[in-house]
Symmetry: C2
């Protein structure tokens, strides 16, 4: 590690010129998701140098990934450039890098390029798809966790239609069968949006295809959809999806996956070219040099203050942390991540002032999912179940409100209005950038 410290040095060098070099504490936040970005913003008024590190140079608004995958919106709309988000904070820097290892004892991060020391560390690296040891799933299914995932899936869905045009019989049916594994919010939203994409929009573009053959199949291993919602909302969701033509199968797990079919536990085989994997996630974090205790879904166990046991200067936020509330683990949605990020910022500021950090307490504003046109479900404050048009409208409002960037909000509203009035989505291009390593 010849480059140790160099990286950090260059990152703050321009400010060292401006002000006296002081022993100002350095806070490094790894991961620019909901938790990490919120922590950075709330730390911006602290007497500390903040460095945010992420593999990407943008913040992904994950709740709308399924809308990118189904052609509602351009991917750039939900990918807010981080440097723009941080422009107004003079004590915050950003570094585009991948953290490879964390050395908790020496307070050092090893990235793909340089090492960085910290006084305080926030691990907010989120989660990744968990393929649950299903054979073939990592290679042959489409997860929906990153912007790249969403664009890859969009390209693939449209390409299936372009191929179906050239085929007939079983080959065509295979191309027009879309399987979604997992009946949580992502699976439900993807199923509804895909069904609408096919039967409202693509039907106009492929008059030569008999789109009655096109199938959207949602596979749920349990006995109800949206299992963390009240039963009335689960039932409403199921009825809505079935009314709109989505096939929903319960109590059956995926056993194996190949490029041409999915095999269920009861040995049912379904021929398909598209298996969308929303069935499970697990925490995703750079391997710490020292062992840390993990709980279910590989999440890191933390104190109620969100500190790592034995390392009071290291915090874990978002999907990477195992946090319980009233004896139940948090489920891993954006509002939780935002509150975790905020709480960590507060605790670091307390520590900076020599005070003790306080315990995290989650305030449940509720959770929401959208099914399709005019149909949504909301479990307000974790108490009041709402469904139908009002819930759908509220869902739209919440997501426009939280999307970063004014012009993005305007574009999002425009895209939704276009789809609502004309049943037309603008993004149907199949294209990828040729990304030769030589050129990157």
């Amino acid at each position: 590690m010849i480059d140790a410290y160099l990286c950090w040095f260059w990152c703050i060098e321009y400010r060292w010129k401006k002000k006296e070099i002081t022993a100002i504490p350095k806070v490094v936040v790894v991961g620019a998701g909901f938790a990490g970005l919120r922590a950075v913003r709330h730390l911006a008024d602290a007497k500390a140098e903040i460095l945010l590190i992420d593999r990407h140079n943008y913040h992904t608004f994950i709740p709308l990934l399924y809308q990118v995958a189904t052609g509602f919106i351009e991917p750039e709309l939900i990918a807010y450039p981080l440097r723009k988000a941080l422009r107004n904070f003079s004590n915050v820097d950003f570094l585009m890098a991948e953290v490879k290892q964390i050395d908790l004892e020496s307070k050092t991060l090893i990235t793909d390029g340089c090492s960085i020391t910290y006084d305080y560390l926030v691990i907010a690296t989120g989660s990744q798809a968990n393929f649950l040891q299903v054979s073939g799933a990592p290679q042959h299914t489409f997860p929906l966790r990153t912007l790249e995932n969403a664009v890859t899936l969009r390209n693939h869905i449209i390409y299936c239609f372009e191929q179906a045009v050239k085929q007939s019989g079983e080959d065509m049916a295979q191309k027009l069968t879309f399987i979604i594994v997992g009946g949580g919010p992502t699976g439900v939203e993807m199923a509804g949006a895909l069904q609408e994409l096919i039967h409202d929009c693509l039907i106009k573009d492929y008059p030569q295809l008999d789109l009655r053959q096109a199938k959207v199949i949602l596979l749920q291993s349990g006995s109800s959809l949206l299992s963390t919602y009240p039963q009335s909302l689960s039932k409403y969701t199921l009825r809505q999806l079935r009314d709109r033509g989505v096939k929903v199968h319960f109590n059956n797990r995926v056993k194996a996956v190949s490029p041409t079919e999915v095999v269920l536990e009861d040995n049912t085989r379904i021929a398909t070219s598209t298996i969308i994997w929303t069935a499970g996630v697990e925490a995703n974090f750079p391997e710490p040099k020292e062992a840390v205790a993990t709980a279910s879904k590989n999440k890191i166990e933390v104190l109620t203050t969100l500190q790592l046991p034995k390392y009071p200067h290291v915090y874990v936020a978002g999907d990477a942390a195992y946090v319980e509330q009233n004896g139940k683990p948090l489920i891993g949605v954006a509002p939780e991540a935002l509150q975790l990020g905020g709480a960590i910022a507060k605790n670091i500021k307390l520590q900076l002032r020599g005070k003790a950090p306080t315990a995290f307490n989650y305030f449940n504003k509720g959770r929401a999912a959208i099914i399709a046109r005019n149909a949504g479900v909301i479990y307000l404050l974790g108490k009041i179940p709402l469904s139908g048009f009002l819930a759908w409208l509220l869902w739209l409002g919440i997501h426009v409100y939280y999307l970063p960037g004014l012009s993005n909000r305007v574009k999002l509203l425009g895209a939704w209005l276009k789809d609502y009035i004309w049943r037309d989505r603008s993004v149907q291009q199949v294209f990828t950038a040729t990304n030769s390593p030589d050129k990157m």
Copy 2:
């Protein structure tokens, strides 16, 4: 070729059900650029079945590629979905495929998947970058001919800045040196837009970089920029670019290129990670089984009626055709391609009615290029030179007018306004879709 005819069969099968099978002539248009798409649209009222074939499922608005590469606009904005463009034409089909070979004698196209027969053929496959036998250029330079090229280049430019942050001295200077080879309209537009991107926009996002070190260098082998424009406009363009900080070098050719530098004929070496290639194009068409005569830039020689000599049912349009006007070859801009496409549609319709095709005659409305904010050049009707703010405004108006899709026009105006008022561009994300062959 077991699949011969199958492909065509499936494409029109749905219409065969609706109407009696007649010996209706089949016109196949290969390439959905300006020429091909115009030909298809003008053939839509002919008594013929039209099939448009393209590798992509969208029409690329090539004149704005440089704006995608420099972060003005999202790529989807200049990529109009072809099926949408053709929705209202009941006798037109589209096939996403790559034509591998043309068998002129048996009137058959061989694509990557099936063979297709035609009665009339329009070859409108456009052009590709010509690297002029410069060693290393095909591997290590960025051409700007396709949407993929533009997105790859945008990702690379921003990534260079993200890397420069971690470096110092010569390494940093190399990352911040951007070389454009070729002083035609694309080179000039790219140079101006890139200089503005760096010094108006990125300067806000990389306060730690000394952007006086960032260089945009335009290399022109001849002695003037925009050599097909009058001298007064060439001089104006040069003055404008230099005033804005672009370094322009004349009378020097590129000898060799590597991932880290460019070597000129006088052995000057410039360290750089980014060489943008706009120096030459050549016609790009699927190899015909029978030899066809080609002229300069590998363009196919055609009769004045745009028919292939000896094959009166085959036409060549756009950049693939060698067409002279008043003794000079056409230069390969969009208005020429549009008029060529229209003329071919007219001639095919004449032939369908048993009449003789007529000679093509180009009406030169003029040509236009943009340099930077408030500065453009227009050579109106090939007679009247205009420069400055008015030419700039006219250029913007022409491009908004010709861009396909109302909502795209609105978004384009919005993006330009945003850049004009706030000197801010929205697209700074580095991302590519992971496109595993298994998943396509």
